[in-house]
């Protein structure tokens, strides 16, 4: 995947976040303040615009401008976490013009580590880490991008679903205690949306060739 591919990928994620906006807001309303979908949609709209405006996009620069949009247009804890994910991925592929599956694995691993260092949440804490961590692990279960992303998307969604069983230890949901059970975490679900978009993007690409 080269720079222009990444520009289209960010556009695809933006489209997916727009579509999921209402659902994500509703999930966030249950345990948080109901703005997660709106915040992601706005930030990815900005990212898509900024990425499209890059004159010589590389994977790393597209990921970096996306990180900037997430950090500064989204704000809050989730902006910092989403931003960190993209920032670390960008740093991990700084000198690459094209990303291989191995590069993807390394980038996602770096991103996950950054998110956990920043947010301190471990799997089981009912956060976006519960979708991100299994997705990152699943990328290594295949040797094609298509297979890897399919596995990651499935793992992210399964991880998100499992958050319904958990009590939150981070984020606003932390303060609702036991009442959190039965509700899927908004950030975990948005991670699943992100990986689903990645998977669909790759399917389309594979379909073309």
């Amino acid at each position: 995947m080269n720079g222009p591919d990444f520009v289209r990928l960010i556009q695809a994620i933006h489209t997916a976040m727009e579509a999921a906006q209402t659902e994500l807001n509703a999930l966030d309303s249950e345990l948080g303040d109901g703005d997660h979908g709106g915040a992601l949609a706005t930030a990815f709209a900005d990212a898509a615009e900024k990425a499209a405006a890059l004159t010589n996009p590389t994977p790393s620069t597209v990921l970096a401008v996306t990180a900037q949009s997430l950090l500064n247009r989204m704000g809050g804890a989730s902006g910092a976490l989403y931003g960190t994910l993209f920032l670390r991925m960008s740093a991990s592929c700084k000198d690459r013009t094209e990303l291989t599956l191995a590069d993807w694995q390394a980038a996602l691993q770096a991103g996950l580590e950054g998110v956990q260092a920043r947010g301190k949440a471990a799997p089981g804490d009912k956060t976006l880490v519960d979708a991100l961590a299994p997705a990152v692990a699943a990328v290594s279960t295949s040797d094609t991008l298509g297979g890897a992303f399919a596995a990651a998307a499935a793992a992210a969604q399964a991880g998100a679903d499992q958050t319904a069983e958990m009590v939150a230890k981070f984020g606003r949901a932390k303060f609702v205690g036991e009442r959190a059970r039965g509700h899927v975490d908004a950030g975990a679900r948005s991670m699943a949306v992100l990986f689903a978009a990645l998977h669909r993007y790759q399917e389309d690409e594979d379909g073309k060739t």
């Binding site: 303040d33 109901g34 500064n72 704000g75 902006g79 910092a80 931003g83």
Partner: protein, 336 residues
């Protein structure tokens, strides 16, 4: 008890920008709005003095845009409603506050504020020559048990830091000294809040929580985070009798201690109620042998139109009294 969603606004997406423009239109001699959306002092602090910055989600006005000015903060980095600003804007705020001897970045402890502040700090350390320190502030005893103070949230009681730290930086105290004072004030401050009604986000129109007509919630956070429990609605005196002992024993405040008292209006409490509440606070403190130096009653950190209040105590010494009584001039805080 329905919540007021009916508000006088223009486009929802323009709330932050228009609010900041309105602020500076009213107080051009006190604050300016920069192109990148920072609220800065109209007359910058003298060179060589430590700059003070804080970033925060908006929606709590006058906090923090009303507390930028001489003897107060140098820069406020306002985020969107209830959303911490991102690291780049905090870095811009740090740069704007620097008068050559370093900047203290104050963080009201909430996950988003802390993460973004940490990122800003990393960026500063990588990039700029500015000497930056960070201090994380918390005061709300309902958000984590005694012994886990650093996990507590930052709420209305941070006001004591803003005022006294602002005065201290103005005296020419060093960055290390400023940080130490901020920690000292924090470590001597305890706050407990109570809500009678919920509030709605002006952006989403979502009501934060539901509270029955005959109940109140103790320990409510400034974004409607649930507190330590609901209670049947009590009289004013009984409410203070329930809350004050928890505050006193948490620090603990002992007989002979001298304190500042803040009764912060969360939004739509009447002053009438707050004065009646203060009457009981004064009685109870006297009984406990705790001396009140000064009391402040008003809306300093709000949660939109929530009806509720926060009671906050800060143990002080002679140096802090001097700082408390020092002059200041912010849009929402003049003289003293």
């Amino acid at each position: 008890m329905s919540v007021r969603k009916k508000k006088l606004l223009n486009q929802r997406s323009m709330i932050l920008r228009e609010m900041l423009q309105g602020l500076v239109s009213a107080y051009p001699d006190v604050v300016r709005l920069t192109d990148d959306g920072l609220i800065v002092r109209a007359q910058p602090k003298a060179p060589g003095k430590v700059g003070l910055v804080i970033g925060n989600g908006s929606g709590h006005e006058p906090a923090m845009i009303g507390f930028v000015g001489s003897g107060l903060f140098d820069v406020n980095v306002p985020g969107e409603i209830f959303t911490a600003p991102g690291p780049d804007r905090i870095v811009a705020g740090i740069k704007a506050a620097d008068r050559g001897t370093g900047v203290l970045l104050c963080v009201s402890h909430h996950a988003g504020d802390l993460m973004n502040a940490e990122m800003a700090l990393e960026l500063c350390q990588m990039e700029s020559g500015i000497n930056v320190e960070m201090v994380v502030l918390y005061d709300d005893i309902s958000s984590a048990p005694k012994g886990s103070e650093p996990e507590r949230r930052g709420t209305a009681g941070l006001f004591f830091v803003w005022k006294m730290l602002g005065a201290y930086a103005e005296t020419g105290a060093s960055l290390t000294e400023c940080k130490r004072l901020a920690e000292h004030i924090r470590d001597n401050t305890r706050t407990l809040a109570l809500a009678l009604t919920s509030a709605a986000s002006p952006v989403t129109d979502e009501v934060m929580f539901e509270l029955p007509d005959d109940e109140m919630e103790i320990g409510m956070g400034v974004h409607g985070e649930v507190g330590i429990g609901r209670h049947k609605l009590l009289s004013a005196d009984a409410t203070i009798d329930l809350m004050l002992p928890r505050l006193l024993e948490d620090l603990p405040f002992n007989a002979g201690d001298e304190v500042l008292v803040l009764l912060n209006n969360s939004g739509s409490m009447t002053l009438m109620e707050l004065y009646i509440l203060h009457r009981r606070v004064a009685q109870r403190l006297t009984e406990a042998g705790v001396h009140r130096y000064k009391s402040w009653i008003g809306p300093y950190a709000t949660t939109q139109e929530m009806a509720g209040f926060a009671l906050s105590l800060c143990r002080i010494d002679d140096h802090m009294k001097q700082l408390w009584d020092a002059p200041c001039n912010g849009a929402f805080l003049k003289g003293v």
